[in-house]
Every structure is written in C-alpha cells, then in structure tokens.
C-alpha cells in the first residue's frame, strides 16, 4: 500500500459522527476518501464552505465553487456557505473538532513547523497558524522522513507554526502521540517493527511495552 494511503486510512479511524473537520492540502485531503461507511462528518473548507464534496464531473465546474486551493469542487446536500470571518471564527473559536495538516517538522514536544523554509520556500502561512492554534485536536499527516532525514526531530530548525503542540502525528511507519509533552509511540505501520521506527526517528521516543501495529 502507498505510504499516503496508509496514513490517510489510519487518520480516518480518528473520525467520529458529527465532527467538524478541516483537511489541509496534500495527504490530509485523502482522509475524506476513507470516512467509515455510514458515518456523517462535516468537512470545512476554509474559503467558506461546510459540506465540501468531490471534484465535479467534467464540464460541471462552477466559478463560484472551489476548494482552498482554488480547484473546482461540489457541495453536498446540506452544505453551508459563509464569509472568511465566520470561517476563521469556526476555526479559532473552538468549534472545529479536528484539523489534519501536512508537516515539514514536528519536534518531540509536538511543536509543528509547516509554513516556510527560510531562503527556499516562503508560501505564507495561509490558515495554518489559526488552525493549529484554534482546533480542538490537531493531527499531522506526513511521511516519516524527507531525503532520508527524520521529520520528527528533537527541536524544529524551521520556523514554528504555533506554540500549541499537536496531539498526534501519523506517518507510514508510526503513530506518535504527544500527551504530557513527550513523544510516545502509539502504533507501528503495517509490517514495521518498533526498532525500525526508533532508527528512523531523531526525536527521543517513549516506547510502551506493547505497541500495536496499525490495523488498516
């Protein structure tokens, strides 16, 4: 199974009926494909919609209905449109149950860096700082390493997105939680050993006696 699919399917297990959820671009977007059968979840798009659907069929795109990346989407029955102040009121005001975002680095206390690489890439933070500051729960979906280097580090070398720690990181190798300000291995990827995770991780990991393998 592709690493992105493993990550998205594992994170989908964190969904619960009636949740309001915001998915970032990249791997997080894939989580919407694995909502458990029969479960209703509200997906928010920060450009002003709850009830974002799949991309439209060819020839059915409408210029006033796009996702946060500007690509055409559809709206599900029961969808709701609003302005950007309301959209970020939902995010910052504690009304958003879960956000799933991509990451460049997460440190062993759960601090996230995901908005710029100085001198290389300065896309801007968009809604990321508000999402990490305001969502009830933050899960980071990312590959475990980049060019062989661990993305779960002792201390972020890149500029932080927020000082509020994330709750969980899911990679193709591991599920890591950050309760009590320490990184704890909560699960391993399919066919991945605890030793492999520890070897691929720069951060100090607390490893409980029994670490279950992801069931996906």
């Amino acid at each position: 199974m592709e690493p992105q699919i493993v990550i998205a399917r594992r994170i989908a297990q964190e969904l619960a009926p009636g949740m309001l959820v915001n998915l970032g671009i990249g791997i997080p977007t894939l989580v919407a494909n694995y909502v458990p059968e029969g479960m209703h979840v509200f997906f928010q798009s920060e450009n002003g919609l709850i009830g974002t659907g799949t991309p439209p069929e060819e020839g059915m795109a409408h210029p006033t209905l796009t996702d946060a990346g500007g690509r055409p989407v559809t709206a599900l029955p029961g969808a709701c449109a609003f302005d950007s102040a309301m959209s970020f009121g939902l995010i910052r005001g504690g009304h958003l149950d879960l956000t799933v975002l991509g990451g460049l680095q997460v440190d062993q206390e759960g601090h996230l860096a995901n908005w710029m690489i100085p001198g290389k890439m300065v896309p801007g933070m968009g809604g990321a700082m508000d999402l990490v500051t305001g969502a009830k729960r933050v899960i980071i979906a990312m590959q475990h390493t980049a060019k062989g280097a661990s993305k779960i580090v002792k201390r972020c070398s890149l500029p932080l997105t927020a000082t509020r720690p994330v709750e969980m990181v899911v990679t193709e190798l591991a599920v890591i939680g950050f309760a009590n300000g320490t990184a704890t291995l909560l699960g391993t990827g399919p066919g991945v050993s605890v030793g492999q995770v520890v070897a691929a991780t720069e951060a100090s990991l607390t490893v409980p006696k029994n670490v279950p393998e992801m069931q996906i």
């Binding site: 798009s45 002003g48 996702d67 500007g70 959209s87 300065v122 896309p123 801007g124 000082t163």
Partner: protein, 215 residues
C-alpha cells in the same frame, strides 16, 4: 450608489492607492476591474487580499504587470511570480495569518482599533507586536486595517446596491465592503429591487458607492 462605466470606475483610483480586493485564489475576485486596472496601468498599489492567486488569474494579473508595491496577504504559495518579485526586492510582502487578516479588516470596518488573538504567539508573527494577558492567556494585539478602495465581487446586486454572494465566492467580499473609503462593486447579475429577499442580502446598499455597469 451610482452606476458607472468600468473605465470611469477604475479612473477614480490614483497611483499609489491602497486596494482591498475580494477573492480566494481568484474565486470571487472582480476580474473585470482587475483587467481594467492593468489596462489603465495604475502603479505603486498596495493590495490587501487573501492571496495573490496564480499567474494569469485575479490579483496574479496585477503582480505580473508589476503594478503592486506592497501586498498584505496570507498566502503567495501558488504564485511563483510573487515569490520571485519578493526575493528580488521589487515587491514588499507582509504575510498575515488568514484569520488574523480577515479580523483586522473586519475591525477596520466595524470601528474597532484592532483585535486580540492567540494566533501567531511564539512565531515570527509576534515580532514587534504588543502582548496582552487576559484571564491568564496571552494574546497578540493585531491592529485594524482600512483601505482607500474596496473592489468587491457579488453574485446579485439590485438597483439600490444591495448585494448577495454565491458559495465560496463570498470569502473576503462582505468584510472588505465595510472597511474602505470607497466601495466599487462588480456583480454577475444586476436585478430589480425586491428580487433579493431582505433575509438574503448580505451587504446592505448604503455601503456601496459605485456599481460597475454591464458592458
């Protein structure tokens, strides 16, 4: 509200003006007005908007024509030309978290001096800003934003200037319509008074100064 030709509407904007422009990745941007600004070659503009869109779309056209001196935006990641001009020192870019940006504009339009937010605490965003503690939580003071002109896109406008919006083309439009000295509207549909139900009007007519006529 006055109705006005596209050419005359844009002719009111002087070089060096500050413009709030509606739109999110060009969805909900008044493209006709943007095209006319490029045609009339208005220079040295300050643009306050969510993003700089992508090359060839919305605000991306102003960037490509090098008409923008300063951009106050939350995201430039999908417009490589903005990043190139910023790196080359040709364009000043102030990056503001999206929720903070829209609240600063809202404050400007609602008669408030600024807002308090936890977004940006402990990041590069807090630099040079006052911090205020309330009930044990630390907030950043983010000051209000206003502009000379708001360039608004609406779905429906009636002959009085009442506006309603469509789906994700609403975004910053009703917020900027409160926060500028002069509000210019381009709408997809101009309809008789009464067509838009009072409950569905989002921006009340007295906020609109000029409506761009159909071509």
């Amino acid at each position: 509200m006055q109705t006005i030709s596209l050419e005359r509407a844009v002719a009111m904007i002087p070089d060096g003006a500050s413009l709030m422009i509606g739109g999110f990745m060009a969805t909900g941007t008044p493209e006709r007005i943007v095209d006319e600004i490029v045609r009339q070659n208005k220079r040295n503009l300050t643009v306050i908007a969510n993003d700089t869109a992508s090359p060839g779309r919305g605000i991306g056209k102003l960037i490509a024509a090098k008409l923008v001196h300063k951009a106050i935006v939350s995201h430039i990641g999908l417009n490589p030309e903005t990043q190139r001009q910023m790196t080359a020192g040709e364009l000043k870019v102030e990056l503001v978290p999206q929720g903070t940006l829209v609240e600063r504009i809202r404050a400007g339009g609602y008669g408030l001096g600024g807002v308090l937010t936890q977004t940006g605490i402990g990041t590069t965003v807090e630099k040079g800003k006052q911090q205020i503690k309330i009930d044990g939580k630390t907030y950043l003071l983010e000051v209000a934003l206003r502009a000379d002109f708001a360039l608004v896109h609406a779905f429906l406008v009636d002959y009085l200037g009442n506006l309603s919006y469509a789906l994700t083309a609403r975004n910053f439009n009703p917020i900027i319509a409160m926060a500028a000295a002069t509000v210019i509207v381009d709408a997809d549909n101009i309809v008789p008074i009464g067509v838009i139900s009072p409950d569905h009007i989002v921006t009340p007519a007295p906020l609109v100064d000029y409506l761009v006529m159909n071509a």
